[in-house]
């Protein structure tokens, strides 16, 4: 039987997400890097008590509408939604993240509002620590020491140990049950390439969960992605779904 990781829909790819699952959502906070269609399908699927792991646990619909209205419209396409819709839908109980609140004092993210209502809890991490904790899970490393964080709030409850004359914090791997990944192109083996800065946490989270699901613009024949070009080898990817055309990449800048 030929290997084929391509499924018909995001709904099918997410049907086994269970209550209490750890869900790693790739991206950075911006539309280009966000697996929006997988997030929407998870909203529809309805699994509850989720722990979201990602840079931004969720702006939500109201804040994204404001960003669309007052920000750079070219960077805020109509289709964009983020993990905030899961928070607003009452599916989230905890987040491990780096950037939970709005940079503007005038508006709150959906996540911060839920935090104010004590519906969610949060662990805030330096972005590099967040990335490395998930990478460690992917690499089969249980824990590691990082120089970032001693003498700050991040140190709380962690072992401090000196290496090369500098204090380091012990940080444990964070393994997910499901990774939601935005990539550009895939083949049926699950080999992935990304475009531009949309690689970010997506390529780190691909492989950091038990089930890794990629949302792509295009599924190409085996061999079209050249071996040297593949960023995420298919071994890290379990399921692939196609994005609808409205969300496809527009190559404005050339490189």
């Amino acid at each position: 039987m030929p290997v084929n990781k391509v499924l018909d829909s995001p709904e099918e790819a997410l049907k086994d997400v269970f209550d209490g699952a750890f869900v790693l959502i790739g991206g950075f906070g911006n539309p280009g890097a966000c697996p929006t269609w997988l997030i929407r399908a998870l909203e529809k699927q309805g699994a509850k008590n989720l722990t979201l792991v990602g840079n931004t646990p969720g702006f939500g619909r109201a804040m994204i509408d404001l960003m669309r209205k007052y920000g750079d419209v070219a960077l805020m396409p109509e289709w964009f939604e983020d993990g905030g819709i899961l928070v607003q839908n009452g599916q989230v109980k905890h987040a491990i993240c780096s950037f939970p609140v709005s940079p503007s004092p005038l508006v709150k993210t959906a996540f911060e509002e839920a935090l104010d209502r004590a519906e969610v809890t949060v662990e805030i991490l330096p972005q590099g620590t967040l990335a490395e904790r998930c990478r460690a899970a992917k690499m089969g490393i249980a824990a590691f020491y990082t120089p970032t964080g001693p003498e700050t709030i991040v140190e709380k409850g962690k072992e401090v140990r000196n290496f090369n004359g500098r204090p380091h914090l012990l940080e444990h791997a964070v393994k997910g049950d499901f990774s939601l990944i935005r990539a550009y192109k895939a083949d049926r083996w699950g080999n992935l390439i990304y475009r531009g800065t949309s690689r970010t946490l997506n390529a780190v989270f691909a492989g950091a969960s038990t089930v890794n699901i990629a949302e792509v613009d295009e599924i190409v024949e085996l061999g079209e992605l050249k071996p040297e070009q593949i960023v995420t080898p298919g071994i890290w990817v379990d399921r692939v779904v196609l994005r609808p055309k409205e969300g496809w990449v527009k190559e404005v800048q050339k490189w």
């Binding site: 700050t152 990449v249 800048q253």
Partner: protein, 223 residues
């Protein structure tokens, strides 16, 4: 009383950009620091790094050329350049932690006389955004803070001890404000440059710790 003129945000960024040397790898935070990329002298090759996974990108793009897949850490669209490379977040922070970033410019809420930085949690808020700033503050070879010299209420932001939660201890090398340039040294804070029209005494009155005066204290040179 007539308020004295302070430097505007772009002029602060212009002064910060003077610190960048040929070949430096530079990471710019959100806010005032972002403007610094607009002030690189022609012929000087500075390579910009952004946490979300790009080295060697060009200036900020205009709305017509905004590409969703080419943004900086402030999620502003930037432009492609020859030599540019992309990488994932783990690599990006590896570059930061292992000391490959020559200069990082961040904003600040408070800087202490020891060079402690507080900039991640806004007063009156329960939580804040650590983002990439903490890794950068801990690990960049040189950390420059650009900020207003005092708060909106006129309180000093350069203080003896930070009262806000720390981003990193003992990390700041240079502070560039709308009134002064101050270097953090083993001996203490050294006032090196003042904005036009300001005296060292006036700057001291708005700064909590004692300032040492540089032997060559001068007006800020922008060119």
């Amino acid at each position: 009383m007539v308020e004295k003129a302070k430097l505007d945000r772009e002029i602060i960024a212009l002064r910060a950009a003077k610190e960048f040397k040929d070949g430096d790898i530079v990471n710019l935070g959100i806010g005032i620091p972002t403007y610094a990329s607009n002030f690189i002298p022609v012929g000087r090759e500075v390579i910009f790094h952004t946490e979300n996974g790009c080295l060697g990108f060009g200036p900020v793009a205009d709305p017509q050329t905004a590409d969703l897949d080419l943004v900086n850490a402030g999620t502003q669209a930037v432009t492609a350049q020859l030599g540019m490379s992309f990488f994932d977040h783990a690599d990006s922070f590896g570059m930061i932690r292992c000391g490959r970033i020559d200069i990082c410019v961040l904003g600040g809420l408070q800087v202490s006389e020891k060079g402690d930085l507080a900039n991640w949690i806004t007063p009156g808020r329960k939580i804040g955004n650590i983002g990439g700033g903490m890794d950068l503050a801990f690990n960049a070879k040189k950390l420059i803070i650009t900020m207003e010299h005092v708060t909106k209420n006129g309180e000093p932001k350069i203080v003896k001890e930070c009262t806000y939660p720390l981003t990193a201890p003992h990390c700041v090398n240079l502070i560039i404000t709308d009134m002064a340039v101050i270097e953090i040294t083993g001996e203490g804070l050294v006032l090196k440059e003042v904005a036009p029209g300001w005296t060292a005494d006036e700057i001291q009155a708005l700064t909590e710790p004692k300032l040492l005066l540089a032997p060559d204290l001068k007006e800020i040179e922008l060119i």
